[in-house]
């Protein structure tokens, strides 16, 4: 088909329009069911496909890692080629040719991803528009708690089956969920409250150590704390308690910062919270009872995917409700103009304190989960680098937006995992991206948007109308 053939061009445009139109009609339910189908397909047939395509293993993280490795190969090779050519000009002998990485994964990985994910999801989504919309409509008429739980179970199933295929996927997924929690909790302070807090890694550390101490004391035979106090089978029941203890410790730390720094408006929170971060790190380094600078290990394996998923959902739900409540609106008022808010009978000091402690609590819970996924914590983890990472997630995704935080955390986590093969260049590419986002959208990608579950889940097409 040549582009100057008007009929085919028109035909193509119409086709594209049709596809776009049909895609826009697929409700979330349709996508979710399609994804479920895809992961079941991968579970059943993935191994055969891997053998048939003669790949090393199933591509983890949708094959981005494998493709990145190949790209890196070509880039590095390209550099070598330049060096070789340079040498040739300088009078040396030509020695070396452009080679293909062995095994060259990209085409196979692309094919695999297309066959396993893209095709089933797209086909299922577009073919089941009517029944899916009908079901979505029925679900939306149920009490919203029931329907949301239904959706969450479906989402969890997809994640579970997907993560079941390799431990690495499971770990990456859990770290991403924890990153979402952290980002959201920092967004409450830096976005909704409009302050600049630097102490989030500190809260995370307090939560991580608080929760770890509880579980290690109770359930692990540890060199530092002695034998386990309770039998192992009770551990899952006590884990939520441990996390809440972690969150509470973090909140207590937040209280220590909040009391002095909210007396005046200005940039003092930035400094006080930074000093607090140094203090927390130094404090843990000096507490020999929790392992000092060398860290605490031996946390029981409690943070499985369902546990992390449940806590992440709980976190998103509470924070979303919090920022949409009266208190959340008061918080925005304080951010925009503290004097005016005060005049409008908002108790500014209490509002700020509540929000700050609330954010710190969730950072602590996320820290506790982090410690139990990694099953090792040391104070050096919670330093300035972690701070830069969390800040990047918040500002990349967008201030004042639950939706943005989820997007920011997921994309930065995914990027930093996918760009791993580029080693040092990873932390050039991510900052460059963030600078571009800041220059073109100074408040982040999806800032100031409300996260309304109902509107996300609603059917895209009235079931009575014709397609």
């Amino acid at each position: 088909m040549t582009p100057d053939n008007p009929t085919s061009e028109k035909h193509y445009l119409r086709l594209r329009h049709n596809v776009q139109h049909r895609l826009s009609l697929v409700p979330i339910l349709g996508w979710l069911l399609g994804a479920l189908l895809a992961v079941i397909l991968e579970q059943l047939a993935g191994d055969y496909l891997v053998d048939a395509l003669d790949m090393d293993k199933m591509p983890s993280l949708l094959g981005i890692l494998a493709i990145a490795k190949d790209i890196k190969y070509f880039l590095w090779q390209g550099w070598d080629q330049l060096v070789i050519i340079g040498k040739m000009f300088a009078g040396g002998a030509f020695s070396g040719v452009v080679s293909v990485p062995d095994p060259f994964q990209t085409p196979r990985v692309l094919l695999y991803v297309f066959l396993v994910y893209f095709l089933p999801i797209a086909l299922f989504g577009t073919l089941t528009i009517r029944p899916a919309n009908w079901m979505a409509d029925k679900l939306s008429k149920l009490p919203s708690a029931v329907s949301v739980i239904g959706y969450l179970i479906l989402l969890y199933l997809v994640m579970h089956i997907w993560a079941d295929m390799s431990a690495y996927r499971g770990m990456a997924l859990r770290f991403t969920l924890i990153a979402v929690m952290l980002t959201l909790s920092l967004n409450v302070i830096n976005g909704y409250m409009g302050e600049f807090s630097c102490s989030h890694p500190g809260f995370m550390a307090l939560g991580a150590y608080g929760a770890s101490v509880v579980t290690v004391v109770l359930f692990a035979n540890d060199k530092l704390f002695g034998a386990a106090l309770l039998p192992k089978f009770l551990a899952p029941a006590f884990f939520p308690l441990a996390l809440v203890v972690g969150g509470a410790v973090a909140s207590f730390g937040a209280l220590l910062i909040a009391v002095p720094s909210f007396r005046t408006r200005g940039d003092y929170l930035a400094i006080i919270s930074l000093a607090f971060l140094f203090i927390v790190k130094s404090l843990i380094e000096n507490l020999e009872i929790v392992g000092g600078p060398r860290g605490l290990k031996g946390q029981p394996d409690l943070a499985s995917l369902p546990v992390v998923f449940t806590w992440a959902v709980l976190c998103i739900w509470t924070i979303n409700n919090f920022v949409r409540s009266t208190l959340g609106k008061a918080l925005n008022a304080v951010r925009d103009d503290e004097v005016a808010a005060n005049a409008m009978t908002v108790n500014t000091r209490r509002t700020k304190m509540t929000a700050f402690l609330f954010g710190a609590f969730w950072a602590g819970v996320a820290g506790g989960l982090f410690a139990h996924v990694l099953r090792y914590v040391n104070p050096a983890t919670f330093g300035l680098q972690k701070l830069a990472e969390v800040l990047a997630m918040v500002y990349f995704g967008g201030l004042n937006s639950v939706y943005g935080s989820i997007v920011g955390a997921v994309s930065i986590s995914l990027l930093s995992e996918a760009l791993r093969p580029f080693e040092l260049f990873k932390w050039v590419i991510i900052p460059l991206l963030l600078i571009l986002v800041m220059i073109y959208r100074p408040t982040g990608l999806i800032a100031f948007r409300e996260f309304d579950v109902r509107s996300v889940l609603k059917p895209k097409q009235n079931p009575e109308s014709e397609v």
Binding site: L274, A275, I279, A392, P431, P442
Partner: protein, 313 residues
Amino acid sequence: MTLNLQNLLDFQNIIDALQWGSFYALIALGYSMVYSILMLFNFAHGDIFMVGAYIGFGIASLLVGLTVAGSLALPGWVILILTLLGAMCLTSIVGMAVERIGYRPLRDAPRASAAITGLMIGIILEQGNLILLGAKRRSFPEIIESQTFSIGGVDITNIKIMIVGVSLAFMLALHLFIKKNKWGMAMRAMAFDYLVVPLMGVSINAIARMTFAIGSALAAVAGIFFGMAYPVLEPTMGIVYGWKAFVAAILGGRGSIMGACFAGFLIGFIEIFVPLVFPSTLRDLIAYSIILLILVYRPHGFFGEPYSAKLRL
């Protein structure tokens, strides 16, 4: 815990603390100027300090290498002056470039966004250095031969005296520039009101550029002195000292050159003297608790005027 108080009276420690504090003071000045005049946190400043140290390393290695090879016959102090001047110029250019790329496009954006770009530029500078020069440590060449004088049981090197003396001279020069010079006055005016002053014919871009240039030049001085005192350079050296100097800048108070210097020296003294009395592991804990307490009682720093920052977000 054993308290060993007679160590406090050792004059040696005062000399060490003065040297340690001058780095913080020099770096803090750059933070403080940007913060006062443009109301921005320049989180890239710590890494500009690192870049300054590396540029100084490059120039000094070249000159020392040429002298050793015999193609140049320069005495040590000439090399030092050339290194200082060269590094100050080049680092100012880096600083102005950072301002142009990272801060000017964001002048009307929320302040926090500009802080994030600064942070990211800092990371890029650091990683770029790792990529260009590798993770290998660099050994700063010996520009001036170190001589140790012993005065009443206290050992002082000529390098220490020079570092403290020249740093103080630079601080004084900056203070005079800000107070007496026309451009200095424009800077102070901009710090007073950045909305009205541009209407009076003062270009905010020119002032911003100059602020970054001066701050970066001072950071380069700090970098070279740092390299002379602790001759092992590494690409991540900027982070820790940068953030600590940032604390010093705020502790000094907004818009106060003297404040930033004073706070820089104070942090130096705290960090040297705390390990003398307490176990050295508690250094950061106690040092920052003291700073926290100071901020609780003097929330606007030592010399800062109380002000109400109308945040632009």
